[in-house]
Symmetry: C2
Subunit: 554 residues, 2 copies
Amino acid sequence: MGKTGKTAKNILFVMHDQLRFDYLSCAGHPHLRTPNFDRVASMGVRFTNAYAQSPVCGASRMSFYTGRYVSSHGAQWNGFPIRVGEQTLGDHLRRLGMSCWLIGKTHMKADTEGMARLGLAPDSVIGARQAECGFDAWIRDDGLWGEGPDGYYDERHSPYNEYLRSKGYPGTNPWADFANAGRDDDEIASGWMLANSDKPANIREQDSETPWLTREAIRFVDQATEPWCAHLSYIKPHWPYIVPAPYHAMYGPNQVPAPRRHEIEREDPHPVFGAYMGNRIAAAFRNDEARQKAVRAYMGLIKQCDDQLGRLLDHLEATGRMDSTMIVLTSDHGDYLGDHWLGEKDLFHEPSVKIPLIVYDPRPDADDTRGRTCDALVESIDLAATFVEFAGGKVPDHVVEGRSLLPLIRGESPAWREFVISEYDYSVTPQCTELGLEPRDARLFMVFDGRFKMMHAEGGFRPMLFDLETDPDEFHDLAKGNSHQCEIDRLYGCLAQWGRRLAQRVTRSEDDIKAMRGRSLRKGILPFLVDGSEIDEAFTARYRGRTRARFAEE
Amino acid sequence: MGKTGKTAKNILFVMHDQLRFDYLSCAGHPHLRTPNFDRVASMGVRFTNAYAQSPVCGASRMSFYTGRYVSSHGAQWNGFPIRVGEQTLGDHLRRLGMSCWLIGKTHMKADTEGMARLGLAPDSVIGARQAECGFDAWIRDDGLWGEGPDGYYDERHSPYNEYLRSKGYPGTNPWADFANAGRDDDEIASGWMLANSDKPANIREQDSETPWLTREAIRFVDQATEPWCAHLSYIKPHWPYIVPAPYHAMYGPNQVPAPRRHEIEREDPHPVFGAYMGNRIAAAFRNDEARQKAVRAYMGLIKQCDDQLGRLLDHLEATGRMDSTMIVLTSDHGDYLGDHWLGEKDLFHEPSVKIPLIVYDPRPDADDTRGRTCDALVESIDLAATFVEFAGGKVPDHVVEGRSLLPLIRGESPAWREFVISEYDYSVTPQCTELGLEPRDARLFMVFDGRFKMMHAEGGFRPMLFDLETDPDEFHDLAKGNSHQCEIDRLYGCLAQWGRRLAQRVTRSEDDIKAMRGRSLRKGILPFLVDGSEIDEAFTARYRGRTRARFAEE
C-alpha cells in the first residue's frame, strides 16, 4: 500500500472527439485556458508524441478499444463494422475481474452479418457486447443525429434527444434544432453552416451535450461496483461548430491562431494531398470569416469541456475516488482547422494525427513523474495494454499490439518502439473517386520515427516526406525532389517490417507456444527414427510388443 | 448447356497429404507410374507452378479452406486454432446453395476459447461447423493416432480405428499396431522406424487407410444431394512410411531417385537452413539405407493412392457424374525425402513448398485446355476463389485473397500475380530454441517471382536467394555473397507490398464501399458548409424552419 492508503482500482478513460493536441493550455495554446486538463497533467504524465492509429473517428476508436492496428482489426473507416469475435478491452478487462462500461460515443457499427452467421442474438448479453465493441452501455450516444433525404444518419435510439424532449425541447430531433443550432430571429440557424458558428446554440447550457454526459458520468460513478473501467466518451468539440452561451462569445477573432499554411504546399502537391486541398471542407476553411467563426466556437466547446472536466474531478475528489482511479484524457484524432489548406482530419500532418494524451496514475510508483511530459513515441493502441496491466493482468501480446505505458509512467526507460504507424482508408470519400482509384487502393500509411514522417499512398503515387526537426510545420515535402532517398528507403523498411508483424495469431500466446514444444513427441508422434535408438525408450514403448500375424497373410 | 448435356454441379476437392509435386508420372517421375492422376491431368489442366501457403499441414490447410494467407487467418502451425468467425469455404459455398462436406483429414483445431467467449455450443450446427473449419463432417479422421507418455496425440474419436476394430483388429489403437506397423516374427515392427519401412504393413490392403477413405467417398457420393463440394482428404502418403502388400515391394532400390543435395549447401548455410540440416529428421534421411526404405514405401503409398483414385473415377464415370463434377487433385505441401540434406517439409525448396495441382472442369468452356499444363504462379488460396466462381458466385475479394483459376482453365490470359508468397512459423520447433529466438521471431517468408526465390527470416538473419533459371536445383544461395542485391531489394519490395495488403477489412466489400459513398450527405451530415449555398437545398431543408427562442434566454 502506498501513501494514498488505497489500492488503485478504477480507470476513467475520457475521450474527447476531434480535440487537437495543441488546443490545451498545458500544450501551449496561446489563448485557450484549460485549467482542468492542466490539473490532470500536473498530477500525471502528458505524452507529447502520441498518435492516433487513424485520423478518422471509427477506425481510430476501434484501435483504442482493441489495442490493435487498423489493418489488424479491419474496421478501416466509419461504419465499417468490427468483425464479430474481435477481442476488445471488455474481453481483456472482464477476464481480470474489471467491468468495462461505455458512457457516450464509440462510433461502433455491429457486424450484424457476422453475428447472424454465428447465431448471436443482438439482445443477449454476449450479442449486446459484440454490438457495442465489448462495452456494457451505461449510455450510448454517438452524437450525430443528422437527417437527410435518406433518413437519419444514425438509426439508433438517441438518449440525448430523449433527454432534450424530457426537458421540453420540441420536435423529433432537438439535437439538430436546438443543441446544434442557433437562432436567427425566429428561424433555425443551423450549426452545420459555419456562418452560424458565432451564434449561441439555442439551448440552456446545462442541457447541452457536454454537461449532460458529465452528469451521466457522475451518476455512473456514484453507483458503480468497483473495480470498473469507464469510457467517458464526449461528442465534443467535434463539429457541428456551435456552442451555447456564454462559451460562444469567450474568444474573439484576435484569439484565433492564424492558419499554419504555406504557398509552397500548393505547388505540385502530392496527388492525394492535392485532392484533399480541393474539397469542399478545405474551401470552407479558406474562407477566413467562416474559419474564424468555426475556431472560436471550437475553442468555446473545448472551454466547456474543460469546465465539465473540472466538475467531474471535483466530484471524484469529494467522494474520495481520486486516489483509487486512473484518469486518462485523450482524443480520437485532431482537426486541421485550416492548417495546411485543409479542414477536418484525414491526412497525417500533426494537427490531424497527433493526439493529446494525459495519464494520471494515482499509485505511489508514479510519484516521480507527476507533472512531467514524456516524448516517447506513443500509439493509441498502447492504452489497451496499459489498462490490462493496470488491472493486474499480463498483456496478451498475441492479441493486443500496443505496449503498456506504465513503465514510462513509473519513470523507467524501457526499450521502446522506433517508429509509429497510422493508417487512413479513404475509399468511401470523393477523393478516391476523383483520383480514379479502386476502393482497395485508397489507403495511406504514415511512418514517423520522431523526426522524419513519411506518407505512403497505395495506387502508384510517390511518398510524402517531412523533416520535423528542420520543418516542424511540415510545409516542405522532401519527397518532391530527388534528395532524402535514403530516409525514404529507411522508412519504407520500417513500414515493411510492420507489414510482417504478427497480428492474427490470436489463438496462441507466446507462452502457449513454448508449452507446446515437445508435445508431439510426448504424445507419441515419432517420425524419422531410423530404429528407435535415437530417443528414450519411454517414447517408443507403446509401439513395441507381441502382435498377430494373420492380417497381412489372409 | 454444353456438349456434356449436363450442368456442372459438384466439386470433388481431393487432397493427398505430403504428396510431392514431382512424384507423379504426369509430372515426370522417372519410375513411379500414376495413370489415374495422369488421367485427370489429361482431362484438365495441370498447374506446374502451384505453391502451398505454408509448408506445414495445419497452416497450409487453413489457407486452402479460407482462401486466405497464413498471416491473414493466423493459424500459423499445427494445433493453432483458426479463430471463431473466420470465414471458410463452407460459409461461401453454402451462401450459394452448395453444401460443403469433409471426408477425411483437416488438421483443424477448434477455437474452443473463442467459441466459449461467444457462447457457441460445440454440438450446435453452427458450433460444429466452427469446430470443423466450416465443413459438415461426413467423416473426420486426421490419421495420426499416436500414443506416448502424455496420452494420445489426438484425443478425438477415431472413425478409422473403430472401423479396424469392427474388422477384428485387436487393441485400442490398431492404427498404430497394424495399419502403420509391420511384423518382425511375433513382434510389432512399428512404422515409425524407417528400418521397418520395407516391411508390409500388417493389415489387409483393403482395410488400410486409403481404400477405407475411398469407400467412404463413394458412399458419400452415392447419397449426396447436389450440388455439393466434398473435400476428400487422404491421410497418405504422409508418414509413417509403411504400406501394405503388394505396394511395399513394388519399387526397388534402383527406382529411388538419388537425393538432390550438394556439398556447397553445407558451407556457411543460412542459420535457419543450418539448424534444420542439423535436426534428427535430416540425420535419418542422410542414412542411405533408411532413406531408401522410406522412399520406396512413399512411392508404394502413392501408387496405392493412384489405384484408389482410379476406383473413384471409375465410379463417377459409371454413375454418370463425370460430366457434372469438377475434380481437383492437390496436396498440402511436399516432402524433402533427403533433398537438400533435409527430411519432412518446413522450408521453401521446391520439394517442400511446391504442390501438385490438377483441375478438371467438365464444362465445355474448358475444352480448349484439356490435357494442358499452365505455368502461371498459383497459390493454394486460389482454390477457394475458384470454387466460389464455379458455384456461381462472385469472389468476395475482401475476404478471399486468392484468385479464381477459371479464366486460366478457359484458356484466357488474365492479368495475373507477379509473385507468390509462402510462410512458415517454426516457433514450436527445436530449431527456434536452438537459434535463441522468441516465438514471434521464428517466422519465415518466401517470395518467388517465377525465377528468383527469396526467403526472409525474422530475427535479424540475412535472406536466402535462389535463381531457379540458372540453378533449378536450388543449391547455390546467392545471398551468401554481395551480388544480387538488386534482386533481393526487388523481392523485399514485393514482400513489403504484400505486407500492406488489404486482408482484414472483411465486413465491407468493394461494392459495399462504393454504395456507401455520399451516404453521409444523404443522411443529413453536412459539415463544412459556409452558408448552405454549396449544396442542393434538399439536403439542408430539414435544418431550416421556425424555431422557439426561449431556451437560450432563460
